[in-house]
């Protein structure tokens, strides 16, 4: 038994190293600049997907507002780059169009890398921790939580669009050409950005994997399947849930920050309700509560999106709608479910139960 476990572990490690080698060495060498840029974008989404998987797949918290955290990280990075470009006393271009004469106070700290780079993680995590503490403490869960996160993402986008002078409105932060003095349009630098994204994804994956396989991970899954039982055992589910939600927000923030140098813009169009939900579909397709599934599913779905929208204009939306319906209703385990069928083994023990024990209690008592 231990020999088998060890062999599976070395097996997994070999696969991880192989994928790492392909991702970091082979692909940058063979892919065109344009395709590599697209892949970098998908890997950013995959980082968000790992966070969603942590919160939703393992923790049962359906977060429909990951766009908010993605946006907070992205705007933090965007503000830093804009101010870098504008120089020590300069004003970002859109501010002068909007009649602002000096940089607003809340922008000022983002001049400094020592503030802006940690902020990319800390601001989304702070917001998530605050919201999570307020909501989970009151035992607000399930659909209520989903609705609240969605409303928050919607409000954030409306705020961004409304405060044009401070946030550049609908256009978002655009024209970010340099980072730390490097030209972002240069192919070599774009390749390095891709490598940075890929390395970040690997780190995020390892962190999530460590979390999920730790005692904490067991607790998180237990909270998902029977929050009240966990509470009766003497644990505090609020802390468990807030932690997972906060980590997932941090991942989304990191992804947003990486997204900025990859694409060169950060705008509300990438953050609203629809993009937040789009981030979920990759996780659903790949199989929730499997980290590899979340990453693979997200990359796959985004390739399908690009492919389909290149060929048929409205095809993608029909396809996406159908995908959501078919996958969630009829194949809730996603691609990971196919793997289970191929291996002919019992379903993974950590799939969400269809009826929460709490509901059974409610029905009985």
């Amino acid at each position: 038994m231990t020999a088998l476990l060890r062999s599976r572990r070395t097996h997994g490690r070999a696969v991880f190293l192989l994928i790492g080698f392909v991702g970091l060495v082979v692909l940058p060498a063979v892919m065109s600049e344009f395709r590599l840029g697209l892949l970098a974008k998908y890997l950013c989404f995959a980082i968000v997907a790992v966070g969603i998987d942590l919160a939703w797949g393992y923790g049962g918290m359906l977060t429909l507002g990951q766009g908010l955290f993605f946006g907070l990280g992205g705007y933090a990075m965007g503000m830093f780059l804009k101010l870098q470009e504008a120089g020590p006393d300069g004003l970002p271009d859109f501010m002068s169009y909007n009649g602002l004469e000096k940089v607003p106070a809340f922008w000022q700290p983002f001049r400094h890398a020592w503030f802006a780079l940690p902020a990319v993680l800390l601001i989304p995590m702070g917001v998530a921790a605050g919201l999570g503490a307020l909501v989970f403490r009151q035992r607000i869960r399930g659909a209520y939580f989903a609705i609240l996160t969605q409303a928050l993402a919607a409000a954030f986008v409306i705020l961004l669009i409304g405060q044009q002078g401070y946030t550049a409105g609908t256009n978002g932060l655009t024209n970010m050409k340099t980072m730390f003095g490097y030209d972002l349009n240069d192919p070599t630098n774009q390749r390095n950005v891709y490598l940075a994204v890929a390395v970040c994804l690997a780190i995020v994956y390892l962190v999530a994997r460590q979390l999920v396989h730790s005692r904490y991970g067991r607790l998180l899954i237990a909270v998902r399947d029977g929050e009240d039982r966990v509470r009766f055992l003497g644990y505090n589910p609020t802390v468990v849930k807030v932690l997972a939600f906060t980590v997932s927000a941090g991942m989304a923030g990191l992804a947003g920050a990486l997204f900025v140098p990859v694409v060169g813009i950060m705008s509300p169009a990438a953050l609203g309700i629809v993009p937040s939900l789009e981030l979920l579909i990759g996780v659903a397709v790949g199989g929730r509560a499997t980290l590899v599934g979340a990453i693979g599913g997200t990359v796959l779905v985004n390739y399908a999106k690009t492919g389909l929208s290149e060929h048929f204009a409205s095809g993608w939306l029909y396809f996406q709608g159908a995908l959501f319906i078919l996958v969630v209703a009829f194949a809730p385990k996603g691609l990971a479910g196919i793997r289970d069928v191929i291996r002919r083994r019992a379903p993974a023990p950590d799939m969400p139960m269809t009826i929460e024990p709490a509901n059974v209690l409610e029905a009985v008592g």
Binding site: A143, Y144, I147, S314
Partner: protein
Amino acid sequence: MDIYLSQVFTGLSIGSVLLLIALGLTFTFGQMGVINLAHGELIMAGAYTAYMVGGVFGESVSLLVALPVAFALAGTMGLVLERVLIRRLYGRPLDTLLVTWGVSLLLQQVARDIFGAPNVNAKAPEWLGGGVVVAGATLPYARLFIIALVALSVTGIWLYMTRLPQGRRMRAVMQNRQLAAVSGIATQAVDQRTFFIGSGLAGMAGVALTLLGPIGPSLGTAYIVDAFLVVVAGGLGQLRGAVFAAIGLGVIQSLVEFKTQASLAKVLCFVAVVALLQVRPQGLVSVRSRALT
């Protein structure tokens, strides 16, 4: 003073529309645990019905024809949705949410392919032009009509729930499905009726919205989030809670919009709802129960 009055009035009319939308959501949520994200597209269907009917019947009577037609059409769409998809997913509320979002994407794209992506205008009838002046504030007839329509619908729902045997069964299922089932209530039939009525109300809300502005394929998404906030703030399946929450949110939003900016109003509404949930986690009105959740 008169400017505040007209702001409150505007808030009242927005709150009424929200209420009409939220009623369907709160009943399906409270009774079946179903979050129907495609509800917004039923609003859109209602609005396009008004647009089509306006083309056929002429603008003077179109509104009165469109209301029942939209109710029936949206209600039927909801019924089909329930029978084909949602029924398979009872007990999996979060999955229902995602599946109905897929439905919503499909319906939006269908509308885009049929009616085109740009917004269209359904002409309001002549007799709703103008308004009545009260204490120096002009109250437009169109908004008064909406408020009256919603008041009438809510009264109707209230009578249905409290006076008719069907409504009694609905409340029974909402309070305790298993107990209702063993008492001989056909819970599936009750579910379908609730779904039909809730969806139909969304269709009527769509017709009402044509009086307030242009309509487009993504009309529903603009209102659905606010309507869900009403559901959360009002309490599951609670008619009274939904009324208070909808009017409260509508008025807060329109007053804040007036005092500061529209973009801050949404954020403040969200903050208000989260603050309310700190005091009353179950929403404004809740059924006392010993259940854990």
